[in-house]
């Protein structure tokens, strides 16, 4: 049952020691952390940089003129530049800090909703939704890229539509072409599915959507951490991702947008640091990114995220992508070969991210997860915030193993071995 691992064994294993979060024992076994799709562990370098900032230059940014405030503001804006470079933004003004990816997607949806309610002046008219206008997502979306659009449709009277998925949970460019109409105003989809590992052909989809005049919103949560991104090159209009999935902290996410769009989109949250003039009659707002960063910003988190990005660059995004793609293929091949195990998503040999969700016949995902946890193997069980997709697959829950740069072949071995034993334990054979 245990596959001996391939040529590139341990190619990235030297980085493991950088991650204290991987070191604990769980239930007397070494931890095999296969839940990085939910949240990643963080290298000491990231923890150190954040702490050093807090111990030496902690101050409010963009609000004070004293030395600490100036140093903090500089570090904060340098972090923005680092992330801008990382995802191929035209300028750091295209990078907006949010609280997570969910918040970033809500920001765009609420911005459009506010435009529809007459906020934002004439330049916001491009975001106004009229009844009959369509908002398009896919049936495979994470709730974060689904419910905000559904709610926007409900608030504005626009029509909420979706690209249906096939029996394996994937969808193709033809499916998208069939669903896009000349009333489609927004097409929102995930670059990489957090359930199936399916990789969307973003550039082609963006071209198609722009052909009907739709804005393209990319959920980059499962791609930004794992592969080199060139958002401008991909041709999308907005993109969202979360720091905590890419070695950074919770409490901070990123919205990237084309600058002219961000400057035209009405604000979402309002308050301090995002205004030009406030009177008791009305207020006016700064351009992006300050426009969207109301209140005290996630300062130390931005600085930690920038260090996470530098760490990822030191390891190399290509090496990470290659390593995980190989582990992903191992998952689909080896789990799929076990009797009674059904892996959802792309078949063996087809491009997929380094994750696999699977169903074990006769054993509920919760029990599978618990059984593996007793062996120190951390996987996620449930609907992975994608209920419609699971419903379409005829499942209420799956077990998901997801990898990162620090994942090892040995961990995959242990997982496959564990899953091979689970049906017998629960008498499901």
């Amino acid at each position: 049952m245990i596959s001996t691992s391939s040529s590139s064994v341990g190619s990235l294993s030297r980085y493991r020691a950088d991650f204290p979060g991987l070191q604990p024992e769980v239930n007397g076994e070494p931890l095999a952390y296969l839940d990085s799709g939910a949240t990643a562990q963080r290298p000491s370098a990231v923890l150190d940089v954040e702490r050093r900032f807090l111990e030496t230059t902690n101050a409010a940014v963009h609000r004070g003129a004293h030395t600490l405030a100036a140093l903090a503001t500089e570090a904060y804006e340098e972090a923005r530049e680092t992330v801008a470079r990382f995802v191929g933004a035209r300028s750091s003004d295209e990078i907006v800090w949010t609280s997570n990816a969910t918040d970033a997607l809500n920001l765009v949806a609420y911005g459009m909703g506010n435009a529809t309610l007459g906020r934002g002046g004439p330049e916001a008219s491009r975001f106004v939704l009229a009844p009959g206008d369509e908002i398009l997502v896919t049936e495979a979306e994470h709730h974060a890229n689904l419910v905000p659009w559904q709610e926007l449709a409900a608030r504005t009277g626009a029509t909420f539509r979706y690209v249906p998925v096939h029996d394996d949970g994937t969808w193709s460019i033809d499916d998208a072409a069939a669903a896009l109409t000349d009333r489609t105003r927004v097409f929102a989809f995930a670059h990489v599915s957090n359930v199936t590992g399916h990789v969307a052909p973003v550039a082609e989809l963006a071209e198609l959507a722009h052909g009907v005049g739709a804005l393209v919103v990319l959920d980059a949560c499962q791609s930004a951490p794992h592969r080199a991104l060139d958002l401008v090159g991909l041709g999308v209009d907005f993109a969202a991702f979360s720091a905590h999935k890419m070695l950074g902290p919770t409490g901070i996410g990123v919205l990237w947008g084309r600058e002219e769009l961000l400057d035209a989109l009405p604000p979402f949250r309002t308050g301090g640091s995002m205004i030009t003039t406030v009177t008791m009659e009305s207020s006016s707002f700064l351009p992006s990114p300050a426009r969207f960063e109301a209140g005290t910003q996630p300062v130390s988190q931005s600085i930690a995220l920038a260090e996470a990005v530098r760490y990822l660059e030191r390891v190399g995004l290509e090496a990470i992508d290659e390593h995980e793609a190989r582990l992903g293929q191992r998952l689909v091949d080896e789990l799929g070969a076990l009797p009674g195990v059904r892996v959802v998503g792309p078949a063996s040999g087809v491009a997929r991210a380094g994750l696999a969700s699977f169903d074990v016949a006769g054993v509920h995902a919760h029990d599978v997860g618990q059984f593996l946890d007793a062996q120190g193997i951390a996987v996620r069980v449930g609907h992975h915030c994608a209920q419609p997709l699971h419903r379409r697959l005829g499942l209420t829950a799956t077990t998901r193993a997801s990898t990162y740069l620090y994942s090892t072949d040995d961990e995959i071995d242990r997982l496959v071995q564990g899953v091979s034993e689970v049906r017998a334990y629960f008498g499901a054979e």
Binding site: G28, H364, D367, Q370, A374, Q387, T396, A397, F426
Partner: protein, 151 residues
């Protein structure tokens, strides 16, 4: 297999999860309640038939989808319930809840809970407590309906 796992999945639980008592429709039920655990998607519908004109349960049945803990817990409940008055069921529900909140400490009352004491080990697994409680919470809601009817 590890001790931790054996503590959770007592043989009683594994058995009930497979050979389920009361996993069926119950036509003409006097009360019915659907309960769902949104975190994991487990769901259950509990139905109760009363001895006519009394506050004694004749039968409790359920239909649901979920993990072995939630299914076994419903099965044990369906074993225990018949013959109990609503007040007696409430007493057992409180005892079960108390056990589930004990985080592995405390001595459950075996006379009161019967086979349900097998779930003592679940209380150490905070994330699974809701699974074990699911059918009991649904039965509690049925009781509330029935008491309201009587009034």
């Amino acid at each position: 297999m590890s001790d931790a796992l054996a503590g959770l999945y007592q043989q009683v639980i594994l058995d009930h999860a497979k050979a389920r008592t009361g996993d069926r429709e119950l036509p003409g039920a006097d009360a019915e309640h659907y309960e769902r655990n949104p975190t994991c998607g487990d769901e259950i519908t509990v139905r109760v038939v009363m001895e006519p004109g009394t506050d004694t349960i004749r039968e409790l049945a359920w239909q649901g989808d979920g993990c072995s803990i939630s299914m076994a817990s419903a099965s044990v409940l369906a074993d225990i319930a018949p013959g109990l008055t609503l007040a007696e069921l409430a007493e057992r529900t409180e005892a079960f809840r108390g056990m589930m909140r004990s985080k592995g400490a405390g001595e459950p009352d075996e006379d009161l809970l019967g086979d349900a004491v097998a779930f003592q080990g679940v209380s150490k697994f905070v994330m699974r407590v809701k699974c074990a409680m699911l059918s009991w919470v649904a039965a509690e809601a049925c009781s509330t309906q029935l008491v309201a009817k009587v009034r």
